[in-house]
Amino acid sequence: MLDNLSVNKRAAILSIVMLVVGLLIWEAAIPAQKAAGELTEYERLTGGGAQKAGVPPPSQVIVKAWQELSNPFYDAGPNDKGIGIQIGYSIYRVLSGYFLAALVAIPLGFLIGMSQTAYKAFNPFIQVLRPISPLAWMPLALFIIQDSEASAIFVIFVCSIWPMLLNTAFGVAGVREDWVNVARTHELGALKTAFTVILPAAAPTIVTGMRISIGIAWLVIVAAEMLVGGTGIGYYVWNEWNNLDLTSVIFSILMIGVVGMMLDAVFGVLQRAVAYAE
């Protein structure tokens, strides 16, 4: 019966089977909470009667997800905001830092890609700065900027600049000389050449860099928000861990994955739009 289905359909069926089996195993592996009557004397004395923090079964997570997602934007004070608001804060920070980085990285990458001298001059700095974990900048950023919000954005800026910078430089440097010669024989000026020949020629490489950057930025924001606190999905995870609400922790982990996937998908679309075959 499976034989006459398309590859996509077969894969989808397999995915669903894996999901269901995984969830069932997970559900079965969690021991049920003991009822209060079965508690021993000792447990009653040590407070064991309170709801124990254990890994919740998937059914609880699904219930939690349903609750949260049916009212994602409620705001009941600093420690109790809807998941939608928290994710909104995180996306806002990621995009701010990311676009600032793009604003610097793409023009600078152009310069580095077009000129051997600029490449050689910038290279040592790039080589030293690039391997630094973006979170290592956090204390310095907090001290200099004196603002946790701006510091988080700065950390995103620092982590997303490198892939964009290097890919832009690489893409621009690799533009076929034939195409540049086409621009030259048509007497195009430097700016016109940059926009009508070099940019479209290097666009696939540049967008690949942008896609890598957004992925890294989304990885880093969670850690950054755990450090600076206040708002955001990273803070939410940390806060729920402090509340020992593991159901919420698991739910937010899943949300981080879903949002990351969507951000990546946007750049996937962009990548397809600028791709060309030689």
């Binding site: 010669n181 030259r184 024989t185 195009l188 020629a201 600028v274 060309y276 075959a277």
Partner: protein, 302 residues
């Protein structure tokens, strides 16, 4: 004799040879091309044809010497010199139509978008590209189609000088013949001058008013300038019957097969190495007078 439209004066090109010395590709090469002339250049691989063409296009600087067009020294590329590159050099992210409008917009910045597009379609139609094909990207076109887009792009700009680097090199004989005829058709309706590199002797005889022959490098020379004394319009099937055809062809084959080697590597002290004019005309040998230029052999090919 008045200055020709295009004059190449004492052109020398040297490159480092990779072992600390210099490689002289050619030295003091001088020749002229008249307005409206169709000139082909033949020579063995590596003798420096592409190098000469890049200098004519203004894409490369010679080690010494000048190229003058209309009396002015060429410095840098110009819209007056259209180039059809050996590998087509179409921009792969643009459709065939957009590749042609790209050139026209650069040439006529004041034209409206409609006019630019109509002009582009006109020239694409001249090379036989009409309908949906013009919306395809170069990667979706066959080699011959790409070549034609490239030719349309160059011709649509009405350059005074057209430079073609082995434009039909990768095509099969049939497509090649069709495009050759299209090229002649477009060229014969204009005042354009064509300088074309080719490896194909028959193609050169079919197309050219004059064929320049280069000796092997290093120290290559443009040794001879052979006039093609076959009246136009010419067609591939008919020129072989013309009495001059085999005489000219034999001369060219003999040069490329033998004399290009014998003459190679002779470093001469002559400051100006002009090619020797060769006129082969078995039907009117007595009237061929050296030095006086014959009327340009041009007719509209129908």
């Amino acid at each position: 004799m008045s200055k020709p439209f295009l004059s190449i004066e004492r052109l020398t090109q040297q490159y480092p040879d990779g072992q600390g010395g210099t490689l002289t590709v050619f030295e003091n090469a001088s020749f002229g091309i008249e307005k409206g002339e169709f000139v082909c250049i033949l020579g063995h691989s590596g003798c420096g044809k592409s190098t000469i063409m890049n200098i004519l296009a203004g894409l490369a600087e010679p080690t010494s010497g000048v190229v003058k067009m209309d009396g002015f020294a060429v410095s840098g590329p110009s819209l007056d010199r259209g180039v059809v590159f050996q590998n087509y050099s179409l921009l792969p992210w643009l459709s065939a139509l957009k590749n042609v409008t790209f050139g026209i917009k650069a040439r006529y910045p004041s034209w409206s978008a409609d006019k630019v597009e109509a002009h582009a379609r006109d020239f694409l139609a001249k090379v036989g590209l009409e309908g949906d094909v013009v919306y395809r990207k170069p990667s979706q076109l066959s080699g011959g189609m790409r070549q034609r887009v490239s030719i349309a792009r160059a011709f649509a700009n009405h350059p005074k000088l057209l430079l073609l680097d082995e434009p039909f090199g990768a095509l099969d004989a049939l497509t090649r013949g069709t495009i050759q005829e299209e090229l002649l058709k477009i060229w014969s309706g204009t005042e354009q001058t064509v300088f074309m590199i080719t490896h194909d002797i028959d193609e050169a005889i079919l197309l050219a008013d004059r064929i320049l022959l280069m000796t092997n490098g290093p120290f290559a020379r443009v040794a001879e300038s052979v006039e093609i004394t076959i009246p136009r319009p010419r067609s591939r099937t008919e020129i072989v019957e013309h009495p001059n055809y085999y005489a000219i062809r034999n001369h060219l084959v003999q040069f490329l097969g033998q004399r290009s080697k014998e003459l190679a590597g002779q470093q001469s002290d002559v400051p100006d190495q002009r090619p020797e004019t060769v006129r082969i005309d078995v039907s009117e040998t007595e009237t061929a007078t050296e030095g006086s230029a014959p009327p340009p052999l041009r007719a509209v090919n129908t």
